[in-house]
């Protein structure tokens, strides 16, 4: 494979370059600012250019046809399209080249719209000069590109679903129905998740377990689903199409022969608060989570069993069991799985309001949470559906709900939990349905009834006489004798204070990422957003994909959502996974890192920074190598190599240095060289363009996949060339698309600054900025600031820098 590639590279070197350059007017979008004919004329004289033309719309059918026919007619072996951002039309022009027999990796785009004409609307001369620079940079880069062939890896037609809530259930069923083997891993004793705990669903008021139970049993008996309960994913290795997963299946102490007759329960002497009932009642150490549980089998909670020390101190359940299903000697086991795709559906936990002491939860018996309420009003719950006040077990007559507990607050979770408003509205109707004389007041900030049928339910609740008061109480006071509660607050719509008396207060608690999110996140190399939920690959267009290939998100693990949205997303995730499994193979973009084994010194530094553990090898072996299918192409490893053994395909040092040299060919002192990562900062600069945010024209942007690819050597070279200032920009630290690869950027730049300082070079000339794809204004501002800073840097200072760097180069070889 490697030899072939080198042969191909040689072939192309020996061939004369025949580059076609196309300058697009994009109607007036580019043509209104940049003199496109002049740019095309300029391109004709660039080395290797066989043909240069300007056209009104390159992306149109005739535009593409022109490229295709020119490739054939003029034997073009490289193409440069100077038009919009490659993030928009790169696939279009790549396909056009490929269909004319030119390898798609030999096409390069110069972004003269988002990064030029749109941001320098009022300076036609400078914009035209900049467009020429950008075209020259692209021509220089394209002449160094080599054909690439994307690696095809097989996809195992098996899937792993982590989490057995409604989202996990739906994903598992969808994939199993499509004919693929599915392993469903659930940490508790039964699938069902939060939905199984809820009494009714909104807005339809369906009985929650009644609609869920059929799906649960379908999972239980599906021939393609292997259900692993009491199980935890311990380790994941491999890559898209071929993951190796270690699952720890904890001992159940009850064998599969269990008929769930329940004879073992009565004799068991050990009482434990029942998690499923939100702690409102007790269960035994031997128990089934709830009557509809799947698998419908008892288990012993060994933590609370008298035999937990490994000595059989009590065998009452064993003696009661007719089928002799109980085995105290049962042991945990590790199961190895091989799967092609993974769906993460780890769900949410409920906010614990104990920290908000002013509401008295856990101090005042009659202050409960909405989850506790769900169990209290459920016919299968601890009170058989009788709503009672915990203090005296009488029915409450005056009930108050308080909204946004643990949501929309910097003291707890800053986001809106999405489900609590509708849940309260539904709860209020449930109470009214059973006991219409109950007086219900809801204290809220905003009622967010945004979904289908939601507003209608809200109206129904008010029609039934539920009062809604805008204003959250400041505190709750309890009457020591009666245990009645007084809520003190302000009705903000009337601007009047209230002292509201209630028998019972229900805190509408929010939801937060599941506690085991961190573990799964590490195992699968996922990112989480600022709120702790898993981050999707793209918030709009790839909402269930993750940045790790072959791993998809379903349900609340990705963000707060209701049952319907969870199910929708679960089906979407299954469908995305099904596409991979149905195709049976996947193409890996040819932008992976590669190691020249002959030059490799086996130091292993690259392996240490790889966020995907895609580099393997050892000192003994004498070299390291990149597992191409695991490499995501960030390039963060490349600058780590001191021996020149590492490079990134399609983003080679040579290619980028050639862009850099072109960018600084003229008037470098007044230029800002900006490195921008593909996912955030380059897109942020695109967004500045789309928003027509004007900024100084003396910036030249070079795209890398990740800021972690930016080599300090490039920065040094830029300073040696006399650049005014250098910007390195990437995704915000928590948002890196390559799993924190940008931490390397920070490390390297800090080292570089130190060296600049030590050698008397003005540190301010190198700037690091985190700019997200949405922060066009931020990008423009950074360029404004840097351009302003540039005016203070004298040519003398720049030549002094060059002298110093040259001196160091003579002495030590390099600053880096």
């Amino acid at each position: 494979m490697k030899e072939n590639l080198e042969e191909r590279e040689r072939d192309f070197e020996s061939n004369d370059l025949r580059i076609g350059v196309y300058v697009c007017h994009c109607g007036k979008n580019i043509g209104g600012t940049v003199r496109c004919e002049e740019v095309a004329e300029f391109a004709k004289d660039l080395p290797g250019v066989a043909l240069a033309a300007d056209s009104l719309y390159m992306c149109s059918e005739p535009g593409q046809e022109q490229i295709k026919s020119d490739i054939k007619e003029h034997q073009l072996n490289r193409v440069v399209v100077a038009s919009c951002t490659p993030r928009l039309h790169e696939p279009t022009f790549r396909a056009a080249c490929e269909s004319a027999g030119l390898n798609q990796y030999l096409m390069e785009m110069a972004n003269i719209r988002e990064h030029c004409s749109w941001v320098h609307l009022h300076d036609k001369d400078s914009a035209t000069e900049k467009a020429k620079d950008l075209v020259a940079m692209s021509v220089s880069r394209v002449s160094r590109l080599v054909p690439q062939h994307e690696l095809t890896v097989p996809v195992a037609r098996k899937a792993l679903v982590i989490g057995g809530g409604v989202a996990g259930i739906q994903s598992a069923l969808d994939m199993a129905d499509a004919g693929y083997k599915v392993y469903l891993v659930e940490k508790s004793g039964s699938i069902g998740g939060r939905m199984a705990q809820i009494d009714k669903t909104f807005p339809t008021m369906d009985c929650s377990i009644c609609i869920l139970a059929p799906k649960m049993s379908e999972v239980g008996r599906h021939p393609n689903i292997e259900l692993l309960t009491l199980a935890d994913v311990q380790d994941v290795s491999g890559h898209v199409g071929n993951f190796r997963v270690k699952v720890l299946k904890k001992a159940r102490y009850v064998s599969d022969e269990c008929t769930s007759c329940g004879d073992c329960v009565d004799p068991c002497p050990q009482l434990v608060p029942d998690e499923f009932e939100a702690g409102l009642s007790f269960r035994k150490a031997i128990h089934i989570p709830f009557p509809q549980a799947v698998p419908s089998k008892f288990r012993i909670d060994m933590e609370n069993c008298l035999n937990k020390e490994g000595i059989v101190a009590c065998d009452k359940c064993y003696r009661a069991c007719e089928h002799k299903c109980i085995h105290f000697g049962d042991r945990d086991e590790t199961i190895d799985l091989e799967v092609g795709t993974i769906v993460v559906a780890t769900g949410v936990d409920v906010f614990d309001p104990r920290g908000l002491t002013e509401f008295g939860y856990a101090r005042f018996p009659n202050v409960i949470t909405t989850l506790e309420f769900e169990r209290l009003i459920n016919a299968g719950g601890p009170t058989s559906g009788e709503l009672i006040r915990p203090s005296n077990r009488l029915r409450p007559k005056k009930i108050a709900f308080i909204q946004c507990i643990g949501s929309r607050s910097k003291r707890s979770n800053p986001y809106c939990s999405n489900v609590c408003c509708m849940n309260t509205i539904k709860d209020s109707l449930l109470i009214k349905e059973h006991w219409p004389d109950t007086e219900i007041t809801v204290f809220y900030i905003d009622i967010r009834a945004f979904g289908k049928g939601f507003e209608d339910l809200f109206n129904r609740s008010r029609r039934e006489g539920v009062s809604y008061i805008r204003g959250i109480p400041g505190e709750i006071v309890e009457d020591l004798e009666t245990k009645d509660l007084t809520l003190i607050g302000e009705n903000t719509l009337l601007g009047r204070r209230y002292r509201h008396h209630a028998d019972m207060v229900i805190l509408s608690v929010g939801i937060k990422p599941s506690t085991n999110t961190g573990g799964v996140q590490r195992l699968l190399n996922l990112s989480t957003d600022i709120d702790g939920f898993y981050m999707e690959a793209h918030p709009k267009l790839r909402p269930v994909d993750t940045t790790t290939g072959g791993v998809f998100l379903a349900g609340t693990a990705e963000g707060p959502k209701d049952i319907k949205d969870s199910v929708t997303q679960a089906s979407a995730a299954a469908s995305r996974a099904n596409i991979l499994m149905s195709k049976g193979e996947v193409q890996i973009p040819a932008i992976t890192a590669k190691i020249d084994a002959d030059k490799c010194n086996a130091c292993g530094l690259c392996a240490r920074v790889c966020p995907y553990h895609a580099i393997v090898g050892s000192k003994e072996q004498g070299y390291y190598r990149v597992i191409e299918a695991m490499c995501q192409g960030c390039g963060a490893c490349v600058p780590e190599c001191k021996f020149g053994a590492l490079d990134q395909t399609h983003f080679t040092n040579d290619q980028i240095v050639s862009q850099l040299d072109q960018a600084l060919a003229h008037d470098p002192n007044n230029k800002i060289l900006a490195f921008a990562c593909n996912w955030c900062s380059y897109a942020g600069a695109d967004f500045a363009g789309v928003s027509r945010m004007q900024y100084p024209h003396n910036v030249r942007i070079i795209r890398t996949m990740c800021s972690g690819r930016v080599s300090p050597k490039w920065i040094e070279r830029a300073f040696l060339k006399g650049v005014g200032a250098v910007l390195v920009s990437g995704c915000h630290l928590a948002d890196c698309h390559y799993n924190h690869a940008n931490q390397q950027t920070v490390k390297r730049l800090e080292r570089f600054w130190k060296r600049m300082e030590r050698n008397g070079i003005n540190k301010d000339r190198l700037r690091l900025a985190w700019i997200s794809a949405a922060e066009g204004a931020q990008f423009a501002q950074v360029i404004h600031d840097m351009a302003a800073g540039l005016t203070k840097i004298t040519p003398a200072e720049i030549s002094q820098t060059i002298e110093r760097l040259e001196k160091i180069a003579k002495k030590k070889g390099s600053l880096t």
Binding site: D446, G471, G474
Partner: protein, 155 residues
């Protein structure tokens, strides 16, 4: 308790996150005794909607007792007490200090005490007690000057 240093020069960006949940109002002891007071929520709303300048001319801002409970409970962690202090400092500098408060400060500056005590001395004598030792008015004045109060109130 948040930072003991009072923040000054607060602007819209320090309080725009207020979504008027009114937990502060429900926690306000000043409102217990003066129902006509604005309460923290309304003060913030007026600040945001009508601007700071109008509030500096408003007598209601002087009813806050800076007990900090609103700030303790504010879900958005807004610096409500500091906001009120900042606002009143500004109001005072613009000469909008309530007369009774100004009189009280003058009394403190002149006598070193917060109350008029000459009758108290007679009472003490009646009960056979020593007269009160002289208050450290000079020291108190120095402290008041340190805070810049002398620029606002003549004493």
């Amino acid at each position: 308790m948040t930072d003991m240093v009072v923040r000054t020069g607060l602007s819209r960006k320090d309080i725009y996150e207020c979504y008027q949940c009114a937990r502060c109002t429900g926690s306000c002891p000043a409102l217990e005794v003066r129902p006509d007071a604005y309460g923290p929520r309304e003060t913030i709303l007026r600040w945001l909607d009508q601007g700071r300048d109008k509030l500096t001319r408003d007598k209601h801002i002087w009813l806050c007792c800076t007990c900090n409970v609103c700030e303790e409970r504010c879900p958005q962690m807004l610096p409500i007490s500091d906001l009120l202090t900042d606002l009143r400092n500004l109001a005072a500098r613009r000469g909008n200090i309530p007369d009774r408060l100004a009189a009280a400060i003058r009394l403190l500056a002149v006598t070193g005490r917060t109350m008029i005590v000459h009758q108290l001395d007679e009472m003490r004598a009646h009960h056979g007690l020593e007269p009160l030792p002289p208050a450290a008015a000079e020291e108190v004045r120095a402290i008041l000057k340190e805070t810049g109060l002398d620029e606002v109130i003549e004493f």
